[in-house]
């Protein structure tokens, strides 16, 4: 190495990707690939809608039951089934969301390789894709959560009639939405970090030749 420490420190300061630029680039990229982004987000919407529906239907049922009777055997069985359903819908979220993000990043390896040729550091790539994933994750989860809650309320109405609104646990519903947002955002971010990091670490020549 013939670079001096000072030169080296100078170089460190000279390569950068300011946050404002990163957000701009990520938003532009989401907009331009609008339909592709929608498809990725749709995967997230479905998974989160299912999760929110199952959880919220449970909340509503609990609230209704608290009004009339203590738990009988049938109710206990129902609760057990519900726990299973929640576990399964969580699994669907993990697999569905990480797969959607994985695909949407992997099909852009070439772009990542090109960015590295232009002087991007590994973590620029991670940062850009993280921002994109967070936007998709949050937007997708929000829509999914609202759909899920709406569907659960409709289902409650068809079971209990308008009485359901009398004892609707609004606070819990709100909490469910927040929880679903969190799950969606975390899963899509993780699903994007892994391939972005992998591509970021590859020599650019390899990333550019990777075809999916």
């Amino acid at each position: 190495m013939s670079l001096t420490a000072r030169e080296s420190a100078g170089i460190r300061r000279q390569i950068k990707l300011p946050n404002s630029e990163a957000v701009k680039i990520a938003v532009r990229s989401l907009k331009i690939r609008f339909w592709r982004s929608i498809i990725t987000a749709a995967g997230i919407v479905l998974a989160i809608a299912f999760l929110t529906y199952v959880v919220t239907a449970g909340s509503i049922e609990n609230a209704m039951r608290a009004e009339d009777a203590p738990m009988d055997l049938a109710a206990m069985q129902k609760a057990a089934t519900r726990i299973w359903l929640i576990a399964i819908s969580l699994l669907i979220c993990v697999v569905g969301i990480s797969n959607a993000m994985l695909m949407s990043v992997t099909e852009r390896y070439r772009e990542i390789g090109t960015m590295k040729c232009l002087g991007a550091l590994d973590w620029f790539v991670v940062k850009l894709f993280l921002i994109e994933a967070a936007f998709q994750g949050i937007a997708g989860s929000l829509v999914g959560a609202v759909i899920g809650v709406f569907a659960a309320v409709l289902a409650g109405m068809s079971e209990y009639g308008f009485a359901v609104f009398g004892s609707m646990p609004w606070g819990t519903l709100f909490l469910n939405i927040i929880l679903a947002l969190l799950v969606g955002a975390v899963l899509s971010t993780l699903g994007a970090i892994y391939p972005a990091r992998r591509a970021g670490r590859m020599p650019p020549a390899d990333a550019m030749r990777t075809e999916v």
């Binding site: 190495m1 170089i11 331009i32 232009l118």
Partner: protein, 255 residues
């Protein structure tokens, strides 16, 4: 003092030097040696063409010289610095500011407009958005695309895309331009314009140009031609020696 001056001169004598560069690709049980020990020395300010049949290892050498891939054995020096010793920051700096890349397949970022593609390296180099936009517009003007700066790559013809790629390669005033078959996907006339542009940069700005090519028109612009065959340097010729070689040029056609 005198030694310091000599050192500076020495430092700039070779823009690129490779020493026994070997590149092996491992595919399952098979190992393919794409480069079998390549030594080349390229002076700052030279215009070099790398010629050779398809599959001879031109792109592989291009990737090694450009720090886009690591040789299996051997060393690559850019400005007398062994690039295998560079850390991630230094390597990114080299790719960002020292070298401009032009690819046969253009490799523009599809989700960005022409000007966004051109300004990206400047943003990585820490330029403010406004300065980058100004310089980007200027560069696109230079390559004759002043009116198309807001177009996305897919809305441009191949030749226009390659001109955007040229403008992008010039973004941070690189000392070296590496071009892998820059005219490979272009018609004769557009190809000629790209070559003219490279020659102009080389003559006017002293940019070292290294270009892999099948294109015989390229030879005319070059100071030296490095012939690669089967992963080895076959021969190196200066342009004034060239007419003897035209026979070989014809011979290349079978490859």
């Amino acid at each position: 003092m005198a030694t310091a001056a000599a050192e500076v001169q020495l430092k700039h004598e070779y823009a690129v030097k490779t020493l026994g560069v070997v590149k092996e690709y491992v595919m399952g049980k098979q190992t393919l040696q794409a480069l079998k020990g390549v030594d080349v020395e390229i002076r700052a300010g030279e215009y070099i063409s790398i010629m050779g049949p398809s599959g001879s290892g031109k792109s592989t050498l291009f990737n090694m010289i450009g720090g886009l891939d690591k040789p299996t054995r051997g060393k690559v020096y850019i400005d007398e610095v062994d690039i295998s010793g560079l850390d991630a920051f230094e390597l990114a700096w080299l790719r960002c500011r020292k070298i401009g890349y032009i690819f046969q397949t253009f490799n523009l970022i599809p989700v960005m407009t022409a000007i966004e593609n051109v300004t990206l390296p400047m943003i990585f180099a820490g330029m403010t958005t406004q300065d980058a936009m100004d310089k980007g517009a200027e560069l696109l003007q230079l390559v004759g695309l002043g009116e198309r700066i807001r177009h996305k790559p897919l809305e441009l013809s191949g030749g226009q895309q390659q001109r955007v790629a040229c403008a992008r390669a010039l973004a941070n005033d690189p000392a070296i331009i590496l071009a892998d078959e820059p005219t490979g996907n272009l018609d004769l006339r557009t190809g000629h314009e790209i070559i003219e542009l490279l020659r102009h940069l080389n003559k006017e700005k002293g940019v070292t140009v290294i270009s892999a090519t099948h294109d015989l028109k390229m030879l005319d612009a070059s100071d030296r031609i490095i012939w690669i065959r089967d992963g080895r340097v076959d021969k190196i010729e200066r342009r004034d020696e060239l007419d003897i070689a035209i026979g070989t040029v014809e011979g290349e056609n079978e490859a």
